[in-house]
């Protein structure tokens, strides 16, 4: 589902986003829908690339070339045969190659000589966000100018019952609510404000502290959300 891919990207769960985009891309090829395939091919490649960089990939541009080549082979095998179908496949490949060139240039601009002047393993450890998963809820903790930013989502298309969630968090977590709309709750946790959205996303910008602590706290709050049937 496209929504999961987008939510996963928002939360920094690029592996899940890649799997979703690849599945949707393959489906669109199977259904002979080049328009949908065009919209899905580049996000899938980018998510796979980012996910690999997070896992320590040292040669991202080379990896991107491999990803593009793999997708190109997939498109050619699907669109082989009739002339019209083949032309659609060639259009799709041309657009993908152009997008790939732009992504490669962005990688070169953003990660110039990543080994220079610093131990790469140390740099990677410092820059990689903490990620936690429990019962389909994903949490990532990133650095933020104010300290830490924690983002979390649920790996399904859900609707949160905000009123019931509010009641539960007051009773079970002693939460204090500072704001509420029909799509969002603003909760005060340890003196910082945390946002809970109707689609199950949770976002918290907090002061510098142990990422594990904030990650687990958001995981705990996420487990208390009441979902609408």
């Amino acid at each position: 589902m496209k929504k999961i891919a987008l939510l996963a990207q928002w939360a920094g769960d690029f592996k899940t986003a890649q799997v979703e985009y690849d599945r949707l891309f393959t489906e669109s090829l199977d259904e002979g829908d080049p328009v949908e395939a065009r919209l899905l091919v580049t996000p899938g490649a980018v998510c796979e690339l980012v996910s690999s960089i997070e896992q320590g990939e040292a040669h991202p541009v080379e990896l991107l070339k491999e990803i593009i080549a793999r997708k190109e082979a997939q498109i050619r095998s699907r669109f082989a045969g009739k002339d019209q179908s083949k032309a659609e496949g060639e259009d799709l490949i041309r657009e993908m190659l152009e997008a790939g060139r732009q992504v490669a240039q962005a990688v070169r601009d953003l990660m110039p000589d990543s080994n220079a002047g610093e131990n790469r393993a140390e740099q990677h450890k410092r820059d990689t966000p903490l990620q936690l998963v429990s019962n389909e809820r994903f949490v990532s903790v990133h650095s933020h100018p104010r300290g830490l930013e924690t983002r979390s989502y649920y790996r399904a298309d859900i609707t949160v019952d905000l009123e019931a969630t509010k009641e539960r968090l007051i009773q079970q977590a002693g939460a204090t609510f500072t704001g509420q709309t029909d799509r969002m709750l603003e909760v005060e946790v340890l003196g910082e404000l945390l946002e809970i959205f109707i689609d199950g996303r949770v976002r918290w910008v907090s002061e510098p502290q142990d990422p594990n602590r904030v990650g687990k706290l958001v995981l705990e709050i996420g487990s208390k959300l009441v979902l609408r049937a």
Partner: protein, 221 residues
């Protein structure tokens, strides 16, 4: 400011093959103006009254083409500056066209964010909106590609515009013009009956309040 007023109206217009037959800019604009001023029907005031600044920031972060982390603060400064309250710098206006000091840097981002906020609504107007973001094309029209939660095969192309002025028909016409141009190409790829257009125009003229006009186009062969 914690919450901002949100006043939104909604109309629908039928799009016909004749609307997509011209390639000259002036004729496309003329058609767009006609759609906005004469053919749009079913005027309805939407049941929105306010938007929390965190909702605005979240919507802008997901929909805007440019990075704007605190659009609400930009707007607060803009409204203050317009009242004559000094902000960071004294107003310096050299008479260069299109370089007015009284322009909010976050204007476009706010317009795009509000478009997403309204069209995503599944609580108040789930029957006419309840759209989900599919992708946000960078550097091109439309601003947002969305699909209906109830039927993901039905797409919506969204063009958002924002203005510091009170009058919305001008920017709404601009948005419809761009949608017509997109639909001229889009019809080569997809059946237009399954793709709706949403032109969303926002005015930040009134301090603390967003006035939004949403025009949905439905293609009828």
């Amino acid at each position: 400011m914690v919450t901002y007023g949100l006043q939104a109206v909604y109309r629908e217009a039928i799009l016909t093959p004749a609307d997509l037959q011209f390639w000259e800019q002036d004729r496309i604009k003329k058609r767009a103006r006609e759609i906005v001023t004469q053919r749009a029907q079913g005027f309805m005031t939407l049941a929105f009254s306010s938007i929390h600044f965190r909702e605005l920031r979240d919507a802008v972060a997901r929909a805007a083409e440019e990075l704007s982390t605190r659009p609400d603060e930009d707007l607060d400064y803009f409204w203050s500056a317009r009242r004559g309250v000094p902000t960071y710098y004294a107003p310096l206006f050299l008479g260069v066209r299109r370089k007015s000091y009284l322009r909010s840097a976050s204007l476009e981002s706010v317009g795009e964010g509000l478009a997403l906020h309204l069209l995503e609504d599944r609580v108040r107007h789930g029957d006419i909106f309840a759209l989900e973001l599919f992708c946000r094309p960078l550097g091109s029209t439309p601003d947002l590609m969305m699909y209906y939660r109830s039927d993901p095969s039905r797409l919506a192309l969204v063009e958002a515009k924002a203005t510091e002025k009170q009058e919305l028909n001008g920017v709404l016409t601009e948005a419809v013009t761009q949608l017509l141009e997109v639909f001229q190409g889009w019809q080569n790829h997809r059946d237009l009956r399954h793709t709706h257009g949403f032109a969303v125009a926002t005015s930040i003229f009134t301090p603390g309040t967003f006035v939004v006009s949403v025009l949905k186009t439905v293609f009828t062969p």
